[in-house]
Structures are given as structure tokens and as C-alpha cells.
Subunit: 226 residues, 2 copies
């Protein structure tokens, strides 16, 4: 199973096209794009992709990262802001491919949001010169696609991890039940609390079975609550 490249809120069509071209160089085909700034289709993306224009034309477009990652089991976030988040941080060379994996790249100017990173399982930090930290989006894709191509062997489904869709359904279920009971007392604090809960539930890397058990627990508790 070849991994997916997910560009979240990319700004420049040129970068989308260059990313697609280098994906094709290294045998990757599944390009997913979340809310491209300049709409879709994008002529500049097709141009920059050169021979790999079919990859741009076949890209799947989504409104949110949650939708883009729904069928995947494991997400890597590409970000330099690795100290702020309580996630495992690895170098590109340490990538392992387990189950259905996506690599998530943020927009050129700002990179991934904390909310997007929180949906990911691990962070990949490309080691760069501290004076020149800003790596071009398509160059980041190049380095990751190149590293993926050097991995000989894809391990077969050893973890049976839940999909992102199942995980998000768990989030929604739990947050709705909590909301109904007034758990998030102050609206201003809700965002942060939700992020914290999602963070540890993501970090748990639940299997599909564990996730279903957890949903049963929530359902049971919710029924028995006043």
C-alpha cells in the first residue's frame, strides 16, 4: 500500500504541481489536497507537474484534513514546530510505513495548525540549518518522497490501527456526550480542552477493537448518567 501525500491548504499552484512531479519520480500516486487557496482545478499546478500532470488531475480534493484522512490509519505531520506538541518527533530517515499512512504538509506561509497536528500520530522534523528553517513545500515533499522510496519493505498491517474516520467518530461521540452534560463549562476553554482530549486519544494509537470498546464504555456511561 503506497502512502498518501496530503497537502493542507496549499497556497501556490506551482508548489502543488512540483510536489506532484516529485511524487511521480518516486512512485507515489495518491495526492490529496485540502482546501487549495486558489480553488481547483489549478492550471499552474498542471503546468508545473510536467509529465505527472495526470497525478494533479486525479488529486482528491477535500474541505478538511479530517475528511482527507478518513480512510487512513496513521498520519505523519510535517512540521518544524515540534517542541510545542506532545507527540513523538522523528527524522525523515526514521519513517516506517504501517497500514494506510498519510504524510500531511501545511500551507507555505504558516505550516500546519495545532489542530491539524493534533490529528496526526507522529511528527516528522526535517533537520535544517537554524538560520534557514523555511523549507519550500514541494522540497519537503521531495525529501519525504525520496526517503519513502528508500524503504525496502512495507510491514504488513501489524497494528490494525483504527482509521482516522473511526477516531473522529469517537471524538465527536465523546465530545457531544460531554457537551450535553455541561463538561465544557466555559466556551473559551472548550477548544483547548477538546484539543487535549483528542491529543491523548490520538497518541494512544487505538486499534479498531480498542476503539469500539472505548465507544461502548462511553455509551454505557452516558446511559447511566443522570
Amino acid at each position: 500500500m503506497k502512502p498518501s501525500i496530503i497537502l493542507s491548504h496549499p497556497q501556490m499552484g506551482e508548489n502543488i504541481g512540483a510536489a506532484a512531479r516529485v511524487m511521480a519520480n518516486f512512485g507515489l500516486v495518491d495526492l490529496r489536497i485540502v482546501a487549495p487557496r486558489d480553488g481547483w482545478p489549478n492550471e499552474k499546478a498542471v503546468e508545473m507537474a510536467a509529465n505527472a500532470s495526470a497525478l494533479v488531475e486525479n488529486a482528491k480534493i477535500f474541505k478538511t484534513l479530517e475528511e482527507a484522512a478518513a480512510d487512513l490509519n496513521f498520519l505523519y505531520a510535517l512540521t518544524a514546530r515540534n517542541r510545542e506538541m506532545d507527540k513523538k518527533v522523528i527524522a525523515p530517515r526514521e519513517i516506517t510505513l504501517l497500514e494506510k499512512t498519510g504524510f500531511v504538509f501545511g500551507p507555505e506561509r504558516t505550516g500546519l495548525s495545532n489542530e491539524e497536528i493534533s490529528l496526526c500520530d507522529e511528527i516528522i522534523s526535517i533537520p535544517v540549518d537554524s538560520n534557514f528553517k523555511s523549507v519550500n513545500l514541494a522540497q519537503s515533499v521531495a525529501i519525504i518522497a525520496y526517503e519513502i522510496s528508500t524503504i525496502d519493505h512495507v510491514t504488513e498491517q501489524p497494528r490494525n490501527q483504527a482509521t482516522k474516520e473511526e477516531l473522529i467518530a469517537l471524538f465527536t461521540h465523546l465530545e457531544n456526550e460531554l457537551d450535553e452534560r455541561g463538561f465544557f463549562q466555559e466556551a473559551t476553554k472548550k477548544t483547548g480542552m477538546v484539543a487535549n482530549i483528542r491529543a491523548f486519544l490520538t497518541r494512544a494509537q487505538l486499534s479498531g477493537q480498542e476503539l469500539r470498546t472505548l465507544r461502548g464504555i462511553i455509551r454505557y456511561l452516558a446511559q447511566k448518567s443522570p
Copy 2:
């Protein structure tokens, strides 16, 4: 000693700038450019380099690869045409940094000429999908700069290899002596014969001392010839 990146006959300023930017990301500073198609300075190169514009502005411009590499001891050619040349071919992960090393990238459309490759010591072939072989120039630089950054230790001058300037002086000396004696009988065959001679003299990876010995031999033979 940080290695040099040499762009030979680059066509698009955008690619020069993007190459400079990713060099800066990975701590490389020595950018050399041979005969850029659109002249120099190039405003698009400066723009695309973003924060690394100083690297573009400080790039050294040369008329030929021979001049650009004169002070270097070891050259890697980046080319996919690796079967045609009788040179050692390595993957990017096998790069070693010995003495003053340059990485030579050809123009976007055609890549390096056979003559340029013949001046290089070894070939680096980036392993790509056979259906999408054409890697963007700046993306190739990204992958090489990234690989260089992962090399922990730079070996200290173990080979004491001759500089390219010394090697080219040897070529010129030998070819002039041969030419005067009518060695290259047919003008049409001279180019190929010169290329062959240069190829094996390059492959010999002569030390400075060996090169001086060889020049003494040529001088001696030439004096004693009729």
C-alpha cells in the same frame, strides 16, 4: 570543508533560486554557476531564493565547468545517463565527502553533456520510477543537499587527490603534445579519442604527486621524440 554545488548551464532563474534556498536549508553555501542561460544577475533567482537570496548574490559565475571546478579535487556528476559512461555509479546515500568536493547538475532540458560527465570522478544516480525519470533541477539539489546533511563526519583529506585544475593542465599538456605529433589523424575522431583519454585519466583519481610524475613522463617522452 563544505562541498560545492555547481549548476551547469541552468535555464530557469526560478530553479537556481530554489536550489539556493534548499542549499541554505541544509547548511551549504558555495554555489557555482556555469553559463546561466538568461545571464546574470537573475531577478527570478533572487526572488525564489527567499531568505537565502544572499547565497544567489554571492554565487560564483564561470564560463565553463572546467573553470568552475578548477580548485576542487573530486566531482560527482548528477545524471540518469549512467550506463553510457565508464564511471562508478552510486546512489545518493553512498555519497562520501573527501577533500574539496563538488556536485555537478546539468541543464533542465538535456542534463550534463558527456564531456562534462567525463570531467567528473563518479556518477550519482537518483533512483526514480522508470515512467517518471525527469527530476526537477532544484528537487535534485534538494535530495543531494539533504543527503549531505545526514553525513556525520567529513573524512580529512585521505587521498590528497589532484585538483581539477592540475588535471586539466595535464590533459592540455598531453593533448597538445599528441596533436603536434599528428596523433589525432582524423579531425572527426579527435573528440572521441580525447574523451576516452580524459576518461581513464580521471578514473585513475591521481594524487598531486602522481600527476606531477605523469607530466614529467610526458615531458621526457616529448623531448626524446623525433
